[in-house]
Every structure is written in C-alpha cells, then in structure tokens.
Amino acid sequence: MEVRTTSYHLSIIFIQMKITKIFITLLLCATVISCSNDDNMVESLVGQTGDLIVKFDNGVGDQDLIFDVSYDKSSNESYKLTSVKYIVSNIELTKSDGSTFMYPEIENAFIVDEADANNAGEIYITLNDVPAGDYTKISFGVGIDQERFQKGADGQGNLLAEAQEKEMLWSWATGFRFIRLDGVYSDATVTDEALNIHMGSVGTSLDNYREVSLDAPNTVIVREASTPEVHIKADIAKVFDGQTSVLFADGYNQVHTDETTTPVIADNLMGIFMIHHVHNE
C-alpha cells in the first residue's frame, strides 16, 4: 500500500515535471519567435499613392511662437508679433534612390499662417496622391518663383484668392508677399514702434524667391495606408538674426519693396527651416 502510494506520488511529480518542461519550452519558443525578425514582404509600390502631411511649427529660438509676447533679438532690440504668414511653393520630395517627385504645379503653393495653427501651434499642409515610396529629403521654395508669377492670375490656382484674403498680395504688378510679419518693436530709444516685414519679389525686377532643401532625420514612408507627418520647425528669430543680423533701427522695421533690405530678409528666411522629426504611420 505504502509502495503504491509512493509510486503514485512519484508519477504525479513526474507528470508535473513534464508539464513544467513543456511549459518552459513553450515560453522559450514564444520568446525566440518574438525575437526573430520577420522580414517585411516586398510590396509593390507601382501605382500606389498616399498622402503626406507637412506640419509647420513656428518658434522663436527654443520657444514656441506666441502672439503679443515680447522676444529679444540682437543689439538689445525686442519685438512682439501679431501676424506671421509666409508662402511655400514648389514642394519636391526626393527618394532614397535620388529620384524626385514634384507636387503638381497648380496646387503647389501654400500660405502658412500662424493664425490657422491648431492648439499645438502647428499648421498643416496635406499633399495628396504622392507616389508611394521612401523619401529622405524635402525641398520647397519660399515665396513664388518668376515662372509661376508670369503665368498671371490664371496660373495661380487657389492661391490668388487665398493670398487676397490673407493680405499676401500687393497689386498684381508688384506681386505676392512671401512673408508677412506684423507687430511692434522696442529698443533703447523707442517703445512699441510699428514693425512690418512684408517681403516679396517686386514684379519681375527683383527676385526674392529662395529655395530650401531639408534632409529628413528619419525616412518618410508614404503608402496608400500610411500617411507620414514631416514636422518642420521654423525659427522666426532667424528672419532678423540669420545669415545677416539686421537692426530695426537701421530700417528693418519696415521692409516692403526696397531692393536693399528685401534680399537680406529673403536670404535670412531661407535658413529658418529644419525638420524636427518625422512621424511615420
């Protein structure tokens, strides 16, 4: 009787050990499976298109841009802004293999207006029907190039009406304002003097259109079912303290069509952009 009980116990223990071994083995298998990297199937991208969102996020240095907040610049000058708008156009995407995609021309001009920003201070531009692919670079122009401008009102698509509404157009002869910063500035001698940076090309006589090319820190993956977001940070401080540091007191408080000051602002404007990060979906 005792022997039978013992052997019964032993067999129970034996079964339990077996279960344990199976259990541990299963766990190990699960773990190993979880670690093995299944290579993604090579999917055909031919004919596939998707959307891409470009987010513009305006800041001043490491600070988010907020209207009516005073920001210091060089030479003990400071400024407050009440409107920040600029035009981007000719958005072109470059794939990792070097091939490029230029967004269709008629739609390829956008007004980035801080007043349109969401709660997080971001302004969205959505590009539709972008060929699926892995992009590593985005280029765009700041302002409107001469070729487009010379196509006249009919060649501007929706931009013309939008520019009129957002006061980004002088007379047709003078053309578009590429950037519009309105506010006030202060220095040692003046307080809250008017500040208006309305820079653009001047008809066809002065070309202030500039191009920007930005490398993405991560691959921008466009697929039919995945819409990447390219988050571009624009440092408005560099409009005044960029390639060239300008002084409001030297006439840069009112920049409109002057052939000396506008190219300086245009060159500075070119350098305000960087891709902060890319969010792939």
């Binding site: 339990q16 699960a30 670690c35 996020d57 997080a120 201070g121 991560n218 940070k233 990060h277 979906e281």
Partner: protein, 330 residues
C-alpha cells in the same frame, strides 16, 4: 468566506491609515511588498518593485489577487521649451496570480485592464483610452539553498533545513492582448497605450535573503521587446530593484514594511528599424510600502517616488506611483 466581513473593514482601515501616513512629511513608517510580478508595461517607470517570493511564509507564497496602480506623467505637448504640457493619468487594474507547478517551479501571470486619461494644457480635447492590456506569463525556477548545519530544533526533520538565501530565475513573455493604436505614437509620451502590440521576452534573475526579522529582496529583469504589426518596436528595457523589509509579527497577523530603490533604463524606440530620436531614457525611484497579512489575505500598498529621471530627452516627467493590492493565498 464569512470572514470577508472582517477583512473588508480591515482593508479600508488600512487604506485610510496608509493615506494618512502618506500625507505626513516623515515617511519612515512605510510599507512595500515583494511580489515577483510586475505590471510589465512599457511606460517609463511603470515596472513596479519586484521582490522575493510572496509574503510572510518566505516559502513560495502562491496567491491570486487584484492590484490597482496609479501613475501619472507630465509630458511636453510640442517641440519647444515653452510648449504646453499634457498630463497622462494611468490607472491599471490587474488580476495577478502566482501558481505552483512543482516544488521548485512556479508560474506567475497577470492580466491588466487599463484606464488611461490625458489632459492638455493647450485646451485640446481630453483623451481617454481603456481596455484589456497586455497579459504576461513567466515561468520561474526557484533555487533554495540549504543550510549547512543540521537543525536539531526541528523535531521531525523531513529534509535538510533551508537556508535564508534563495535565487529565482524567470523566463516569460508579454503577450499582445492589448490594442496598440499607431496614431497615438506621435505624442511625446509614446507610453500612452493600452498595449504595445508586440510579443516581448522577459528574463529575470532574483535574489532573496529572508532573515527572522529582516529580509532583502532584489531582482534584475530584461525585457526584450518585439516589433508589432505597425513596424514599431519599443526599446528594450532593463529593470532593477532592491528592497529591505522588516517583519513585525502580531498574534494572528503580521506587518512587513519595506524600503528600497528601483530603476529602469530604456533603449530607443524603433520604427521601420530606424531609431527614433529622444525615445530612450532612465528612471530611478525610491520605493516604500508595506504588506499586511491576516488569515489567507494579504493586503499591500506601496509608493514609488522618482529620485532622478531623464525620459524621452527630458520631455516626459514621471510622478509618484501608488499601488494597492489584495491577494488571497492559495
């Protein structure tokens, strides 16, 4: 089970006492616990204290129980130094158990229910997310050392007396039972998820010393994160913890306060096999708490307070974590 009428008020009293103590500036009088289970979540600092096998008996204490954990984070909602914040509040209700298999082997399992909320300083609409989280299962081998000398005080020595030292080795997996929402990853705190959508490996090594009055328990755990369907992979995580506890026996119950540290370090998150900037980090917590055992019930409460942290490029800040649980010994 009619005893439950006694246990519930006791538990409530305990809670009130705990809260009272928690508001005192002097936190010497505190409690912690030594369960092998962790929440296994991929949020910074969410991995709770680890520790020795169960309570009181210092042998394998097997149990089934319920645990509630509250943790909050403050995250920067934007890319600028003065970007507004978001606050994440994570409530986890967890069914957990430790089940014996043989004398030396046992398994632990947990199934969480997540209730997450996020508020935005910017005025964006609040977000709420809830559902079953990621279950985890770990198989454990416990290596109990034997005492060198024969213990004559035991009248019927069945085996050699156990020493006060033991080692546990655990291998397990976290299962993708919770839903992973890709759209949420664009936020600064990518931990705001019910689940990671990945199958992860869990590897643990624990050491315990259980003296008559004072014990020590420590655990090292490595989480090998798998890639989920969205080609998204949370960074591998290393967790360590060590706690000293003190046993206060009463006639029919006992109290076991503890104090210790726990910490995590995280590697960068990868998507499409590209590391994402500012997604690694580390967190060191001071922990304290207590367990109270009466009859078959074990009540526990503990808190973890960040000592130092650097999470997601400094864009996420972990706050205190509070945990309470009630276990029923099997």
């Amino acid at each position: 089970m009619q005893n439950i009428k006694i246990y519930i008020p006791t538990f409530l009293l305990f809670l009130i006492g705990y809260c009272g103590l928690a508001s005192e500036p002097d936190p010497c009088n505190y409690n912690h616990e030594f369960m092998l289970l962790k929440p296994f979540c991929d949020l910074c600092g969410c991995a709770t204290s680890s520790g020795s096998s169960g309570f009181g008996t210092l042998a394998n204490s097997n149990f089934i129980g319920l645990r509630y954990t509250h943790q909050s984070f403050e995250s920067k909602d934007g890319i600028f130094a003065n970007s507004p914040s978001s606050h994440e509040y994570l409530n986890t209700y967890q069914l957990w158990a430790q089940i014996p298999i043989t004398q030396k082997f046992y398994a632990s399992a947990s199934l969480p229910y997540q209730d997450l909320n996020r508020t935005f300083e910017s005025g964006s609409a609040n977000e709420a997310l809830n559902g079953i989280g990621d279950a985890s299962v770990v198989g454990w081998f416990k290596w109990q050392f034997y005492s060198n000398k024969e213990n004559d005080s035991i009248p019927y020595p069945v085996t050699r007396p156990l020493s006060k030292h033991s080692i546990q080795i655990g291998v397990g997996a976290k299962l993708p039972t919770g839903e992973f929402e890709e759209s949420l990853t664009d936020r600064v705190n990518p931990g705001f998820q019910v689940g990671t959508g990945s199958l992860d490996g869990i590897f643990s090594l624990g050491y315990n010393y259980g003296g008559d009055k004072i014990g020590f328990s420590s655990m090292l755990t490595y989480y090998l994160k798998g890639e989920n369907k969205n080609d998204y992979r949370y960074g591998n995580q290393f967790n360590y913890s060590g706690n000293v506890y003190y046993k206060i026996p009463f006639t029919r119950s006992s109290l076991m306060p503890f104090v210790g540290v726990s910490g995590d370090s995280y590697q960068s998150i990868e998507q499409y096999e590209e590391a994402q900037a500012d997604t690694d980090g580390r967190l060191l917590n001071g922990t304290f708490g207590t367990e109270y055992a009466t009859g078959k019930f074990i009540l526990g409460a503990n808190a973890a307070i960040p000592i130092s942290q650097d999470l997601f490029g400094g864009n996420v800040k972990a706050s205190e974590r509070l945990t309470i649980y009630v276990n029923f010994a099997l």
